[in-house]
Symmetry: C2
Subunit: 83 residues, 2 copies
């Protein structure tokens, strides 16, 4: 079975996010004044083959923990879509 | 009304994505062999206030076009969640 994983890797809530602050500041300068709490992370799409959805879930979670997210600074969540 | 926008900014399909290729290569080295088509973009969350969902949608779309996405290299999509 083929799956597509849509993964979000975001800076942890407890941490400052300088890139998010920079975007927020720029948006304010562009007159988007009702905007706040901007946070910038990564979005990663991966296509993978697996015997079933549970196995695909385990593979993507392992990939996030081993490579895609830095657990000291980032959290991750993902969705699997069968293709 | 308060909304949270969950925005994905991804490199256009037609373009090479060197960061995605690097991640794909690293996953392969970590024995994730059933993985392909890795693409890496940005995930941005924004909180905003707007009179209604249509206005929030227009604001976020405008912010993407003016600042968050580079239309030459990137596409964007987003979801709005009322908070």
């Amino acid at each position: 079975m083929n799956f597509r994983a849509e993964i979000d890797v975001m800076p942890l809530k407890e941490l400052l996010d300088p890139q998010g602050k920079a975007v927020e500041h720029s948006l304010d300068k562009l007159n988007f004044n009702d905007v706040k709490d901007v946070r910038v992370g990564k979005h990663i799409t991966i296509k993978l083959a697996a015997a079933n959805k549970d196995e695909a879930h385990a593979q993507v979670e392992s990939a996030c923990k081993k490579l895609l997210a830095n657990p000291i600074m980032e959290g991750f969540k993902f969705e699997l879509v069968q293709e």
